[in-house]
Amino acid sequence: MGIPSEIAVGSEQYARVVAWLNCESELLDTGQERKWLETMVSKEIVYQLPLRQTIERARGTGFATNTFHLDESYGSLMSRVVRNESGFAWAEDPPSRIRHFVTNVRVRQSENDQLEVKNNLMIYRTRRDQTLPQLLSGERQDVLRIEDRVLKLYRRTILLDLTVIETHNLAIFF
């Protein structure tokens, strides 16, 4: 990735990234998963949610390097979209109600003109007649790059603040 340099808050480029993130959240929160995938995601996407364990401080953060809850490519993300459109995706039909809250956006430019974007994510999820939400909090480590003059999601790593996940499935997009 080279040595990245910070993009200042308030700069045109920073505003562009935040607008991109907001647009993405809107598509995901309004069930426009296919549009999100086809217009905002690179065909070479690597999309991962690593598994985490509780371990002692001296042994690191507990994130596994090669074990995941989700480890997706463009093809497998498309499988999920097609599945949800199949009429038999019982887990998400009726869909759960989700809301992405994205904050603490930090943008760095890496040498190869990619944008490294760290942001904090909170997903609020309810379904059926639930009143207590499922909350999924974590950090997204994204890499955005320009493809055919359009900003695309090229890498996404989701670092959840959980080891045991109390949600009935991970059928949602982070």
Binding site: L51, S86, F88, A89, W90, A91, I165, T167, H168
Partner: protein, 463 residues
């Protein structure tokens, strides 16, 4: 999150009444709904089932070196599964002998000492009490030998799978597994290398009853056509619903059931050896199994089974991306850890044969993750009916209207499945798979154990 707990008070003999209904109803395939949500039943299960049976804790490849440990559960309680300096594996009750404080601070790690954070009692990897601060002043004269960590009553491994029991009167593991051994052999022992675990387990909590997982993996194939219909839409699974109903339902021994999706003949097109890659399948041999076991594995498309009470196994052809990769053999093992009548934690491990190439291991892992994990296209739908069944399980209406769950498929006069003697392995065998005797076998052993006093065991033979 909805509460998994029932708030209704039941008469104290309610659980006895439910268990009597179970005993009476089982031969007719009728099971009281309260088994899936009643607190009294659940509290009995912790004592009658989990505090007695052989319970799966992990695989020996998870603790390869001396001092390696993982924290695991029997019932609701934590155990430290640790390899000692001599290479032996122990399962130690995670409670300091002084004030009962849990001393294992992490899900996994490596250590030579477990030290209690309260007063500093310290134990070695065999559970021996090594000492405590200012020992002479505080405890001089007291025996260290009598104050080691408590251990399970018995621990044993089979193909590297670690099981333990809290009941010293439990029969040896191999006797407990009985006919199930023959089938575990042909899943985990297809060659001399055996299997290894790929990474730490996924853990997720669901508002449902643990038995929903166990009975489903005992051989519920019929739900694929409806609940998992979406997997055909995305090409994740290569066998059609009617074809996949071909095969065998097997009550391997008391409580343990399994199911094979299997081609009618050896020459039938379609997946062989659960769709493991050809060059891996070429390494399968009779080093650990006999020719007949190898023959059964060769014809197998899917293996799904449950070792009573809560250890489930699945081998099946899956892919994460049907457009670019053909389905490959995926092997996942899991436990359904009870957390209440209406709550359990699923632990999910992926396995690979040790002699797979790194690329094959990656394909197996990705395909397994995309299908049988909490984000997988198969399993994400499974949790849905289990949650809804648990609601009926704690329903007062189900109680007062005497609601019975239906497990009649395959009973005499119901459906086309027939008992067959034309089968190489042990157990009571039915074909094709339109049959719920595999679940009735689970509940029969369950019913007998729930009525058994500590020290006495139901018979393990099936007929």
């Amino acid at each position: 999150m909805s509460s998994g707990q029932s708030t209704t008070r039941k008469p104290s003999n309610f659980s006895e009444q439910v268990l009597e209904e179970l005993r009476r109803g089982l031969p007719r395939g009728e099971i009281p709904a309260a088994l899936f949500g009643n607190d009294e039943i659940y509290n009995l299960e912790l004592r009658k089932i989990f505090a007695r049976c052989w319970v799966f804790l992990g695989h020996d490849s998870e603790v390869p070196a001396s001092g390696d440990y993982v924290r695991r559960k029997i019932g609701e309680d934590n155990f430290i599964v640790v390899r000692d300096e001599d290479g032996e594996i122990h399962a130690l009750f995670d409670a300091c002998r002084h004030r009962g404080v849990q001393i294992c601070r992490a899900d996994s790690g490596n250590t030579d000492i477990f030290r209690c954070p309260y007063h500093g009692w310290a134990y070695d990897t065999k559970g021996n009490l090594l000492g405590a601060p200012l020992w002479k002043n505080a405890f001089g004269g007291m025996s260290k030998e009598e104050n080691g960590l408590l251990s399970v009553a018995n621990l044993a491994t089979y193909h590297g799978l670690i099981f333990a029991t809290l009941d010293p009167t439990a029969p040896p593991l191999e006797e407990y597994l009985g006919g199930m051994k023959w089938y575990l052999d042909l899943v985990f022992g297809l060659n001399e290398h055996g299997i290894e675990i790929l990474g730490p387990p996924q853990r997720f909590v669901i508002d449902a009853n643990w038995k929903s997982g166990s009975e489903n993996f005992s051989g519920d194939d019929y739900h694929l056509g409806t609940l998992h219909r979406s997997v055909w839409a995305i090409g994740a699974f290569p066998v059609s619903f009617p074809d996949n109903m071909m095969g065998y339902h097997i009550q391997a021994s008391a409580g343990h059931s399994l199911s094979f999706s299997m081609a009618p003949t050896e020459d039938d097109p379609g997946p062989k050896f659960f769709a493991y890659p050809d060059d891996l399948a070429a390494s399968f041999n009779t080093a650990r199994i006999d020719q007949e076991q190898l023959g059964v594995a060769r014809r197998s498309r899917v293996f799904v089974g449950n070792v009573f009470p809560n250890f489930s196994i699945l081998a099946a052809p899956m892919t994460d991306d049907g457009v670019h990769f053909p389905p490959t053999g995926v092997l996942t093992i899991r436990t359904w850890q009870p957390m209440g009548a209406g709550k359990f934690e699923a632990w999910n491990w992926f396995c690979a044969y040790r002699n797979m190439t790194p690329l094959q291991k990656e394909r197996v892992y990705k395909s397994g993750l995309a299908s049988f994990s909490m984000g997988g296209v198969f399993e994400m739908d499974d949790t849905e009916p289990w949650i809804l069944a648990a609601r009926t399980g704690r329903s007062v209406t189900a109680e007062v209207l005497d609601f019975k769950l239906n497990y009649k498929m395959g009973l005499p006069g119901v459906g086309i499945s027939k008992r067959t003697e034309n089968w190489a392995g042990p157990g009571v065998v039915y074909s094709p798979r339109y049959e719920e005797g595999v679940q009735r076998n689970f509940f029969r052993f369950y019913s007998e154990l729930m009525g058994a006093e500590r020290g006495s065991w139901p018979k393990f033979s099936l007929d």
